[in-house]
């Protein structure tokens, strides 16, 4: 019997993403305590749009989290190996890879169209009688289960129906459990749960369909190196979610500390902070990002010893990119927080706290910070989609995510040359575009609702 052992391989970004989820959960729980805030959140979730976009965002975050538990498989002992030392594969896998089955390993030689059984390029094929024919070679992993004479279209239809049925059954079971739970708590009619369930069922059914068909065919074709496009696009989810959230989260402490102290202490602190952020924001951000990324690149090249496997190096570069994006974007949040603190510190209750001799730290923690939390939250949600979109532009400039990491930006970037080939290769662009568009759209719609709930000024005047 063969024992598959493994060694966990935790990347820096893995730590951070889990840490971030913990923070957000903690933040949400602490917000629930305050009745005003939970009222506002209820306004967001009581709309159908808010509920369905939230479920979509959750699905993306869920995939990103699954893709953030990494491990390295043990290699089978080499023939004649005497020591009991176990060697581990240099490929870092994640739980998501396990769920996707063979999809990540089913590599072809080069491009192939979605659901195609043949390659995109003509090649010289040696036939059994010794002659060579120039034709499209058959793909190794697409439709391997088909018998001679089986209709491909019929097979796809059958497999699709089967997969959808499985997915729906799974979704319905989960929904039934949730419904029962809600009913027992008596909160069944508080929120538009049916919308949530429908969105959930669609996502689960769609994912099951993708996974089961993706193991039989290349649902979205293959890219130049023969990798499955669907697999690459799904792996891009982690990169997208991480870049959107980490870049903001990492620099949140700077923005908060600087912004609050400038607005609260005024005087020379205010001058210094204003000077720092005006200077930083007067540098064209793309140049600052490019310069910092190039400098980090030089550092990595000079210090190769810090990274054990290729993915760790890519991960280090990625983390640096998030930092750099954060550095160039914290100024606007800092400015907002400073202005709001200036206003708050003039209010009666803060003045009263002063008069009672409450310490500065106590005032900042108890009176100022809680009243700024909605600004921080709205900025976080608003910046998220901007960062995801920015990644594509950075990839084009050549300072984006390392090619060793799957990313939508890199895929979209290749598309400009791929489209103009004959016949044109559209599947790489569409795969990355669809996933990116859905995420950004969901976040944008959700952040609109959050903004409306917490910022009454922009609410629509219908009178």
């Amino acid at each position: 019997m063969e024992f598959e052992t493994f060694k966990t391989a935790v990347l820096w970004t893995d730590y951070l993403i889990w840490f971030m989820v913990a923070i957000i959960v903690f933040f949400m729980l602490s917000l629930r305590k305050s009745p005003q805030n939970s009222e506002k959140w209820k306004a967001v979730f009581s709309t159908k749009l808010g509920m369905s976009t939230f479920i979509i965002i959750l699905a993306y975050v869920g995939v990103a989290l699954l893709d953030s538990i990494h491990f390295r498989k043990a290699l089978p002992p080499v023939e004649g190996q005497t020591s009991t030392q176990v060697y581990y594969s240099n490929d870092v896998n994640s739980v998501l890879d396990l769920m996707l089955g063979e999809m990540g390993d089913n590599n072809e030689r080069t491009y192939s169209a979605p659901f195609s059984l043949k390659s995109w390029n003509k090649e010289n094929i040696k036939q059994s009688d010794g002659t060579t024919v120039r034709d499209y070679p058959e793909l190794k992993h697409a439709g391997a289960h088909l018998e001679e004479g089986d209709g491909q279209a019929a097979d796809i239809l059958m497999q699709s129906l089967l997969a959808l049925a499985k997915g729906l059954a799974l979704a319905l079971a989960l929904i039934a459990v949730h419904r029962l739970w809600l009913k027992r708590r008596g909160t069944l009619n508080d929120l538009p749960w049916s919308t949530a369930w429908i969105t959930f069922a669609i996502i689960i059914a769609f994912m099951t369909w993708l996974i089961s068909l993706g193991n039989l065919y290349h649902v979205l074709g293959t890219d130049q190196a023969g990798n499955d496009t669907l697999y690459e696009s799904l792996k891009g989810i982690r990169t997208g979610v991480l870049i959107g959230s980490l870049a903001t989260i990492i620099t949140l402490p700077f923005a908060i500390v600087f912004g609050i102290s400038a607005g609260y202490f005024k005087g020379w602190v205010d001058d210094a902070v204003q000077y720092i952020y005006t200077t930083l924001s007067s540098i064209p951000s793309i140049l600052l990002i490019a310069a910092l990324v190039l400098l980090f690149q030089v550092w990595v090249d000079n210090n190769p010893g810090y990274f054990e496997v290729g993915l760790e190096k890519a991960d280090g570069k990625f983390l640096a990119l998030c930092f750099i994006l954060g550095i160039t974007s914290w100024a606007s949040l800092c400015r907002l927080l400073r202005a709001e603190t200036l206003k708050l510190s003039q209010l009666d209750y803060v003045q009263a706290a002063h008069a009672f001799g409450v310490s500065h730290l106590q005032i900042l923690w108890k009176h100022i910070l809680p009243n700024l939390s909605h600004i921080i939250m709205i900025t976080f949600v608003l910046d998220f989609s901007g960062m995801v979109l920015a990644e594509a532009v950075l990839a084009y400039i050549g300072i984006g995510v390392d090619p060793a990491m799957a990313s939508w930006g890199n895929m979209i970037n290749l598309a400009s040359t791929e489209l103009s080939r004959e016949p044109s290769i559209w599947w790489n662009l569409s795969g990355a575009f669809f996933l990116m568009f859905t995420l950004v759209l969901a976040v944008n719609l959700f952040s609109d609702l959050v903004n409306d709930a917490f910022n009454p000024k922009t609410r629509l005047e219908t009178a």
Partner: protein
């Protein structure tokens, strides 16, 4: 007014010094001239002598901030910092790595950049305001909600996607306009029309949505309600009450951007092979030519600060209540 402008200009000096110090630290202390030389000459198989020659050739070999051996004032002026950083204040950008004069390159490339940036900017703002006003007429209706949803959808599409798809369908498949290129003079419009259209389209989502929000805020205020109550037509309210009052926030957004038009658009220019400053920057980033990057950083911050000052001045023009002092 004059005193205010002078004060703002003086305030700009420490910021520019800060920018210069920061870039100098990044490009000469964090990333040493030796690193630069190795990056340019290739990492391996390069002799120490070749590296030193490259550094001396570029003038990076002196002391960084303070030259003890030089006499008098030259203690400060005969340094890398003075030569490479302080001279930027006189717009003396020096030479790029391939020996071309950066200042004249910048002057040459400004034209094509502006030829693309000015029409995109003007048409973009005009279209956004028109669309926002149109949507405002139907506010609260189903049409309004749908349009806002469409705006959010347009916002969620990557900028690159607009360019790639636009270039593919309009230029390559239907062959209406040339795919890319640039031509001086009036004949050049054929090359510019596609990038302008694409950048206007890509901007509608966020632009028109922002303006709609601004207009709605103004239209909820008392004077708009009074105007409607005394019988002014809805279009009259729109053009005589809402639009002038929304000008202030609109100006804040657009005046800052005007000087930055000189910098051109990084992605657009390189996709359509327009020889402007945007593609100049992109090429220098890709070639790791840091002397050009430093020059462009300085130019960019000068333009940004100019934009801030212009914004303040434009306030007094748009809103007589604002007095600069």
């Amino acid at each position: 007014m004059f005193a205010y402008i002078v004060r703002r200009l003086l305030y700009a000096v420490p910021i520019l010094i800060g920018v210069n110090l920061l870039t100098f630290i990044l490009f000469f202390i964090v990333n040493t001239p030796e690193d630069m030389a190795r990056a340019h000459l290739g990492d391996k198989y390069v002799t120490e002598e070749a590296v030193q020659n490259w550094i001396a050739d570029k003038g990076y070999d002196g002391p960084m901030f303070f030259n003890n051996e030089a006499p008098g004032v030259e203690k400060l002026t005969d340094t890398v910092f003075y030569d490479k950083s302080v001279k930027l204040f006189a717009f003396d950008f020096g030479q790029s790595d391939d020996g071309r004069d950066i200042s004249s390159d910048i002057v040459d490339r400004m034209g094509p950049s502006l030829a693309l940036a000015i029409p995109s900017f003007l048409i973009g703002v005009w279209v956004n305001i028109c669309v926002a006003l149109m949507v405002l007429m139907f506010r609260g209706s189903r049409l309004d909600k749908t349009t806002v949803a469409v705006f959010v959808g347009l916002m969620s599409i990557s900028y690159l996607f607009y360019i790639i798809v636009g270039q593919y369908f309009i230029a390559k498949v239907s062959k209406l306009v040339p795919v890319s290129g640039f031509n001086d003079g009036l004949d050049g419009w054929r090359f510019l029309i596609l990038p302008v259209v694409i950048s206007v389209l890509a901007g509608i989502g966020s632009g028109a949505r922002l303006y709609r929000t601004l207009f709605i805020e103004v239209s909820g205020q008392d004077f708009s309600r009074t105007a409607r109550a005394k019988g002014v037509s809805e279009t009259g309210v729109l053009f005589h009450h809402i639009l002038p009052n929304a000008m202030l926030p609109i100006l804040t957004g657009i005046v800052v951007v005007i000087p930055m038009l000189f910098m051109g658009s990084l992605v657009m220019e390189s996709f359509f092979s327009i020889p402007g400053l945007g593609s100049y920057m992109l090429d220098s980033i890709r070639a790791q030519d840091f002397s050009i990057v430093r020059a462009m950083v300085f130019l960019g911050s000068v333009l940004y600060i100019t934009g801030l000052i212009l914004t303040d001045i434009s306030y007094t023009w748009a809103d007589p209540r604002v007095r600069l002092s």
